[in-house]
Amino acid sequence: MKRLSLGRKLFLTADYLFLTGLAILCLLPLVNVLAISFSSSTAATANLVKFWPIDFNLKSYTYALSKPEFADAYWVSFKRILIGTPVNIVLTLLVAYPLSKDDRLFRWRKYYSWAFIFTMLFSGGLIPWYMTIKTLGLIDTFWALVLPGAVPVFSVILLLNFFRGIPKEIEEAALIDGCSHWRILWRIFLPLSAPAVATITLFALVGHWNSWFDGLILMNKTEHYPLQSYLQTLVISFDLKIMNVKEAELLSQINNRTLKASQIFLAALPIMLTYPFLQKYFMKGIVMGSVKG
C-alpha cells in the first residue's frame, strides 16, 4: 500500500469532519425540539433551551398521554398498522408473483400488468377519489384507511423485479415435483426474497404510520383520526378546548410549546426505533427494485 500524500490526508480529514458535521446538522433540529419537550414551561417560554433540557421533567409527556384523544389516535394508528400492513404485503405478493412470469407461461400477464401500471401514470384526482369512497359508504369507517391503498403498485414492481431474478430452474423443478404455484410462492419465492419483502414491509409500515391526509378528509369524527391526522390539528392550530380544572392546573405547568414537542416525539418514536434495524435490507431492496437495468 502506497503511503498517503499530504493532500490526500488533508482531504480525508476534511471529508470526515464535513460529513460528521453534516449528520449532526441534520439531527440538531430534532435534538432541539426533543430538549424542549423535556424542559420546564418557564425555560421553554424564556427561550433558554438549546440542545439539552433545562429543569428536566416529564410533565408534557404525562399530560399528552393522559389525554383520551391522544390514546384514541394512537390506537387507531396501531390498528391501521396491524391490519393495513398485512393486507398490503399479501396483495403485493399475490399480484407480483403471477406478473413476474413469462408471457409464455401467463398469457394475460401483459394486460394485467398494464392495468396496474396505468394507475401510476394517471389518476382521477382528489375529488373523484373522495366521492368514490363516500359513495361506497366508507367515510368515518376504519376500512377507509386500509382499502383505498391496499395495493401499493410501486411495491408490486419492486417485488416482481426481484422475483424475476430467481432462477427459473428452481420453479421448474418444484412444478415437476408436483408443487402448486401457491406452495411455490409461499415456500420458495417468499423466503428467497427476504430483502425485497423487508423493504416493502418497511414502506407499508412507514406509509401507514405517517399517513394523515386520508384520515383528515375521510374521517368526520376526530376520535376516528389516526395519530398523524390528530397531530396535524395540533401542529397547525392549537385551540384550548373546554378543559376541566385538573387539566387547567396541569396545563399551567406545561405550555403549548413543550406539549407540541412531546407529542411530536411520541409520534416519531416508533419509526426511530424501527428503521435502523431494517437498513441493510431496504438499501439492497431499493437498489434491486428501482435501478433494474
Binding site: N32, W108, F122, S123, W129, I271, M283, V287
Partner: protein, 298 residues
C-alpha cells in the same frame, strides 16, 4: 387450449383480489372525471348535474391566480429536483471516498432519519425552530450577527425554506442509488488510471463520474414526471395566508377549492389538468429513459 387455461387459473386467482381493489379505488375515480365537465351539484349527483363542457376550464384559465399557482408549482418542484440531485450526488461522492465501513453506515443511518418521518412531524419541528421570536435558528443566526428572516412567513423566503427543508428530508435517502452505482464501478478501471499516472482528482473525473453518469441520466429523466409535484404534504403543513402568492400550489388549491369550498367541478377540472400533463411527462420520461439509459419499468 383448455389445459393451458387450467394451468394459468392460479395466476388469475392471485391477481384478482388486488385488481379488484385497483378497479374500485383507481379506475372508478377515473370515471368520476366527468365532473370536470359538469356544473356539479352534490344533491343531483354525477348523472343529473348539468353538462357544461369546457366552461370550468375556460373559467380557470381566466383566473389571474391560476397562472401564479402553476408557476409556483413548477418553480418549487424544479428547484427541489435540482437541489436534491446535487445534494444526493455530492453526499454520495464524499461518503464513497471514505474507507471505514462503520463510519459510513452510521452517517447514513443518521441522515436517513428525516426521510422516515412525516411532514406533520417535520413541519411541527420546522415551525418551532424557524419561529423568529423563539426559534433556535434565529438564535444561531444571531450568534453570527445575522437578523433571521421570517422563513415561513415571508413570501420571498417561503419557497427557499420549502426547498431546503425538502433537501434535508430526502438527500440521504436519495443517495442510496448513487452509492450503489459507485460501489459497482469496476476497480480495475481505477488501477488502470493509476498506472496511467492519474491522481485522485483525475480518477474522480475520468473514472468515478463516467461510472455513475448512466444512473444520473436515468434519475434526471425519471424526475421529469415530478415537475408538477411540488409536494402536497409539506406545502399544506407550512402554508399560511401571508405566503399564498409564492407558496400556493396546484394540489393545495384543489384541496381548498374542492373539499373546503365544495366547488367540485372546478377542483376536478384542475386535478384533471394536472393529471393529463403529468401523465404526458411520465410517459415521456419512460420513453427517454428506455432510449438513453436502457431502462424498463417492469
Amino acid at each position: 387450449m383448455k389445459s393451458s387455461w387450467r394451468r394459468e387459473l392460479p395466476f388469475h386467482i392471485m391477481v384478482w383480489p388486488g385488481l379488484l381493489a385497483v378497479l374500485i379505488f383507481s379506475y372508478v375515480p377515473m370515471a368520476g372525471i366527468v365532473i370536470a365537465f359538469e356544473k356539479f351539484i352534490p344533491s343531483k349527483g354525477i348523472f343529473q348535474s348539468p353538462w357544461i363542457g369546457f366552461d370550468n376550464f375556460r373559467f380557470l384559465f381566466e383566473q389571474p391566480d391560476f397562472a401564479q399557482i402553476i408557476r409556483n408549482t413548477v418553480v418549487i418542484a424544479v428547484a427541489k429536483i435540482v437541489a436534491g440531485l446535487v445534494a444526493s450526488i455530492g453526499f454520495a461522492l464524499l461518503l464513497n471516498e471514505l474507507g471505514k465501513a462503520f463510519f459510513k453506515r452510521t452517517i447514513q443511518t443518521l441522515v436517513y432519519l428525516p426521510h422516515f418521518l412525516s411532514w406533520i412531524i417535520l413541519g411541527g419541528i420546522l415551525i418551532d425552530i424557524l419561529s423568529p421570536s423563539e426559534g433556535i435558528v434565529s438564535w444561531a443566526l444571531g450568534l453570527i450577527g445575522i437578523d433571521a428572516p421570517f422563513f415561513l412567513g415571508s413570501s420571498s423566503w417561503f419557497p427557499f425554506t420549502l426547498v431546503v427543508s425538502d433537501v434535508w428530508k430526502e438527500f440521504g435517502f436519495g443517495a442510496i442509488v448513487y452509492l450503489a452505482a459507485l460501489t459497482s464501478i469496476d476497480p480495475t478501471h481505477y488501477e488502470a488510471a493509476v498506472i496511467d499516472g492519474a491522481d485522485r482528482w483525475r480518477q474522480t473525473w475520468h473514472v468515478t463520474l463516467p461510472g455513475i453518469a448512466p444512473i444520473v441520466v436515468l434519475m434526471v429523466t425519471l424526475s421529469l414526471g415530478n415537475v408538477l409535484n411540488a409536494g402536497f404534504d409539506q406545502v399544506f403543513i407550512l402554508l399560511s395566508p401571508t405566503v399564498m402568492d409564492t407558496g400556493d400550489i396546484i394540489d393545495t388549491w384543489v384541496y381548498r377549492m374542492g373539499l373546503v369550498n365544495a366547488q367540485y367541478g372546478l377542483a376536478t377540472a384542475v386535478g384533471l389538468f394536472k393529471s393529463v400533463i403529468s401523465s404526458i411527462l411520465i410517459v415521456a420520461s419512460f420513453v427517454l429513459a428506455s432510449k438513453f439509459a436502457n431502462y424498463r419499468v417492469f
